[in-house]
């Protein structure tokens, strides 16, 4: 079976903090349709850069990325990114308008009225139906990320790219959002590539965990995660997998 998303022999140099130059060097990766993949690794290992390459925000120096055997070119509605930053929502638009922005950009549903209805439906799914007319600055961090998730999902991208979206949240909110994300994923069946530095999060969420090597700029190991859902951190399998990953990083 051929893979849905294929990263082929990618080379890209990138800067980490203090302008230190690092490289992704001949990275190969295959992801299947509807798969939930997490990428973990030490900070500066290139996982965010890899995500940006897949999003098409930046171009690789060598190699290419294929979706359904077609080389990607630039950013696209098909690959929507959810960022870690809380200000990924536009502060001058209400929550509803922020979600409508995505629909309008893709020019879906013809009328404004219809777009609003669809946006409301998605906001209901992320439990923000009571906050439609709020401006982002009036919401908590968790609510902002939920709204961002709704905006990303509303255009039904085939691939959802998530760059530590819950990284700045407190642990309780993070847990809530992880559950919410899984809930939605069951329904929407997007292919998800989720970058995190939190091993526990990776084990809870994904079907496949990709461990990046921060020295070689390549993938160190790909670990399938077949634990039955819902996964609970106190179960033995969970702890075993967690420890295995912990040693790898």
């Amino acid at each position: 079976m051929s893979s849905y998303l294929e990263v082929k022999n990618i080379k890209k140099s990138y800067k980490v903090k203090d302008d230190h130059l690092k490289v992704i060097n001949g990275l190969e990766l295959k992801i299947n349709r509807n798969e939930f993949v997490t990428i973990i690794g030490a900070s500066g290992c290139g996982k965010s850069t890899l995500l940006k390459l897949i999003a098409g925000f930046i171009e690789p120096e060598e190699g290419q990325i294929d979706i359904n055997n077609n080389k990607i070119k630039g950013a696209s509605f098909e690959r929507i990114m959810v960022f870690q930053e809380f200000d990924q929502l536009f502060p001058w638009r209400t929550i509803l308008e922020n979600v409508c922005f995505a629909l309008k950009a893709k020019d879906l549903f013809g009328s404004k009225q219809k777009r609003k209805e669809v946006a409301k439906k998605y906001l209901k799914e992320v439990h923000l139906n009571n906050y439609l007319d709020y401006y982002p600055h009036q919401l908590s961090g968790g609510m902002k990320q939920r709204a961002a998730l709704a905006r990303s999902l509303v255009t039904k991208p085939s691939i959802l790219l998530m760059d530590e979206p819950f990284g700045s949240l407190d642990s309780q909110t993070r847990q809530e959002l992880q559950n919410l994300l899984l809930e939605i994923w069951y329904k929407e069946k997007n292919t998800v590539v989720f970058v995190t530095h939190d091993i526990k999060e990776a084990v809870i969420l994904s079907d496949k965990i990709i461990v990046m090597d921060d020295q070689k700029g390549q993938i160190k190991e790909i670990i399938p995660n077949n634990l039955t859902r819902p996964r609970r951190p106190y179960e033995n399998d969970f702890i075993e997998l967690f420890q295995k990953l912990n040693q790898l990083i």
Partner: protein, 257 residues
């Protein structure tokens, strides 16, 4: 502005007016130096009812609005150009460094020489006063836009123009507004000074000319009346127009700089 703040301000103004009138009543000062409020208000009433003053306010405001609009267009063009060219940015920065601290009135002798003492000259000085703070603020505004906004724009396949209109413009709005406030304040001062120096280059002239003319005819209540009008317009624009724009935009959006 909040209601109680307005009331507070009115109370203060009334108090000052009473002190003023009391000082006049003591008769210590000649009314040639300190006219009574009654005579000032009477003069104000006369000037308004004759229609001259309104026409002069209209003249001043129309020239200032024209100046601001032209500055806005030029500022946009300059800033957009600087987004695309590094060479142009460095040239622009040098020009700003030279021109920004230069008071418009200092340019007056040159301006008169180049374009005469007419409406054009006043317009030029207003544009000079507004343009540079506006360019500076717009530039800072564009530079301080979070990277993530631009990535989102790309992600939703917007073209450069759409990104400019839908994302960069509203995102830099707080800076734009700050620039407009500085620009207005500078333009307003420049306008009045220029008009007082030029005289009525155009038909009835503006507010500055109103004051100059009253001074020439030694009509001190008239001079004060002109000053009162200038104060009132200043308060209206700064406290009401800008304040309400702020309340309906950046305050509502939580975007104060």
């Amino acid at each position: 502005m909040k209601n109680n703040k307005i009331i507070e301000r009115i109370i203060w103004i009334l108090l000052l007016a009473i002190v003023w009138e009391l000082v006049v009543l003591t008769g210590r000062f000649s009314t040639l130096i300190l006219p009574s409020l009654r005579s000032i208000l009477h003069s104000l009433y006369l000037s308004i009812s004759r229609g001259d003053l309104l026409a002069q306010i209209y003249f001043s405001m129309s020239i200032i609005i024209q100046g601001i609009i032209i500055s806005l267009i030029i500022a946009m063009v300059l800033v957009f150009l600087s987004l695309f060219s590094k060479v142009f940015t460095s040239l622009l920065e040098t020009i700003i460094a030279i021109a920004h601290p230069l008071p418009g009135i200092a340019l007056l002798p040159l301006v008169i020489l180049w374009m005469g003492a007419g409406r054009k000259a006043i317009l030029f000085i207003i544009i000079h006063s507004v343009l540079w703070p506006l360019v500076l603020n717009l530039k800072t505004g564009f530079q301080s836009i979070p990277e993530v906004y631009k990535l989102i724009g790309k992600n939703y396949e917007l073209n450069k123009l759409q990104i400019m209109i839908k994302i960069l413009t509203p995102a830099s709005f707080p800076y734009f507004l700050a620039g407009m406030k500085i620009g207005w304040a500078r333009a307003w001062r420049a306008l009045i000074s220029a008009e007082m120096l030029f005289g009525a280059a155009n038909s009835i002239g503006g507010l500055g000319w109103f004051i100059f003319e009253k001074r020439s005819f030694f009509d001190l209540p008239g001079v004060f009346a002109g000053i009162i009008v200038i104060v009132i317009i200043g308060i209206l624009i700064e406290d009401f127009v800008f304040q309400s724009i702020e309340n309906h935009t950046i305050k509502k959006w939580g975007m104060s700089t």
